[in-house]
């Protein structure tokens, strides 16, 4: 009966796969909406163009204060009318008058509504303590300016993968485990500062026992693809 049961399983799996695949194709390619924050006119124009060329919708603002206003985090905690506002990524300059990018990062990570949104810090200065501090506070990545098209593309691909993964949810993780026939090891891969959900997609052997509060490591993220 064992082999029959095995065959039964084999019959079931392809269908499951099909379901996953068709879900994937029907999810379509939604445009990512990016909020860009930079006090420099020049840099705002450039980042806007970089993002548009990468098929992203952009809202560019000149300060942390404006960013919080846009997100509705400027004191009005009531989340009226936020169902429509979907931000996939926030890219902020570090050095800005008034509120720095770091302070903005903290405020975003403190908010229930937006703390899961990846925040990327941009800076013209490659200061290790600054990078560490931002990553520790939950920044997804720290990009040294000037930002290149390849940086934006890489970010977009990373975010899109995250969005797809989120849609597939646990089904996908289970599928990987079925395919590889392994249960996740107990310790996370220490040198890779990947978002836990993503890491289970890219590296099936790494821990998928992720808690949502899984902290990125202090080192800048290593991009596995490409």
């Amino acid at each position: 009966m064992g082999s029959a049961a095995g065959e039964f399983l084999r019959l079931v799996l392809p269908e499951k796969e099909k379901a996953v695949v068709s879900d994937h194709s029907s999810s379509g390619l939604e445009e990512l909406h990016v909020l860009a924050v930079d006090d420099s006119h020049v840099d705002r124009k450039v980042i806007e163009r970089l993002l548009k060329i990468s098929s992203c919708k952009v809202t560019a603002v000149e300060s942390g204060t404006r960013a919080l206003q846009f997100l509705g985090l400027d004191g009005e905690e009531s989340s009226v009318g936020f169902d429509g506002l979907k931000i996939n990524l926030i890219m902020t300059d570090y050095s800005m008058p008034g509120m720095t990018g770091y302070e903005l990062l903290k405020k975003i990570k403190e908010s229930k509504a937006f703390k899961k949104i990846p925040v990327v810090i941009m800076s013209s200065e490659n200061i290790l303590t600054r990078i560490d501090r931002c990553l520790e506070e939950g920044a997804e990545e720290f990009i040294v300016k000037p930002v290149k098209l390849s940086d934006v593309r890489r970010l977009r691909d990373f975010i899109m993968r995250g969005e797809e993964n989120r849609k597939k949810g646990n089904n996908h993780k289970r599928k990987l485990q079925d395919d590889y026939g392994m249960s996740p090891p107990l310790s996370p891969a220490p040198s890779l500062a990947l978002d836990c959900e993503i890491s289970s997609l890219l590296l099936p052997s790494s821990s998928s026992s992720s808690s949502p509060e899984c902290r990125p490591s202090k080192r800048p993220r290593l991009w596995v693809e490409d």
């Binding site: 020049v42 840099d43 163009r49 050095s95 098209l149």
Partner: protein, 150 residues
């Protein structure tokens, strides 16, 4: 053909900006963001740079006139200037900004003033050359950036 000759002129003009160390790879990155729908993107960005720079130059001039010098403020202005110079690939202007900031950190007022005079010269030269370049480029139409030798 006259057109080909003009195209070559534009290409040579462009190349000389790199050869003379006025522009770096970032300028090429901006050119690559230009397309038929956005044919003047680089010039638009550079125009924003001129606007920002004019304001910063005024602020820095005024700040350099004060006594004692507020090095923190000067450094902050120059950080902004350096940032936009870097964003458009203005290599020489950017290196003058770096030098200025070093003098700020050292509290060297004379060094700052001297460097700023040089910076203004470099900026004026770059602006003049870029304006000629863009003017000619516009007359001639889109130029291939196939020759990316920097």
């Amino acid at each position: 053909m006259d057109r080909n000759k003009q195209h070559r002129q534009v290409a040579l003009m462009r190349q000389s900006l790199f050869d003379q160390g006025l522009l770096d790879e970032q300028f090429v990155q901006l050119e690559e963001l230009q397309d038929d729908a956005n044919p003047n993107f680089v010039e638009e960005v550079v125009t924003l740079f001129y606007r920002d720079s004019a304001r910063l130059i005024l602020n820095i001039d005024q700040a350099l006139d004060k006594s004692p010098l507020d090095f923190a403020k000067l450094d902050s202005y120059m950080h902004q200037f350096k940032g936009s110079a870097s964003s458009i690939g203005a290599k020489k202007v950017k290196s003058e900004c770096t030098l200025f900031r070093e003098y700020c950190k050292a509290g060297n007022g004379e060094g700052c003033k001297r460097t700023f005079q040089q910076l203004k010269k470099e900026y004026a030269l770059l602006r003049k050359k870029l304006e000629s370049y863009f003017q000619l480029a516009r007359q001639v139409g889109p130029v291939e950036t196939a020759c990316r030798r920097i």
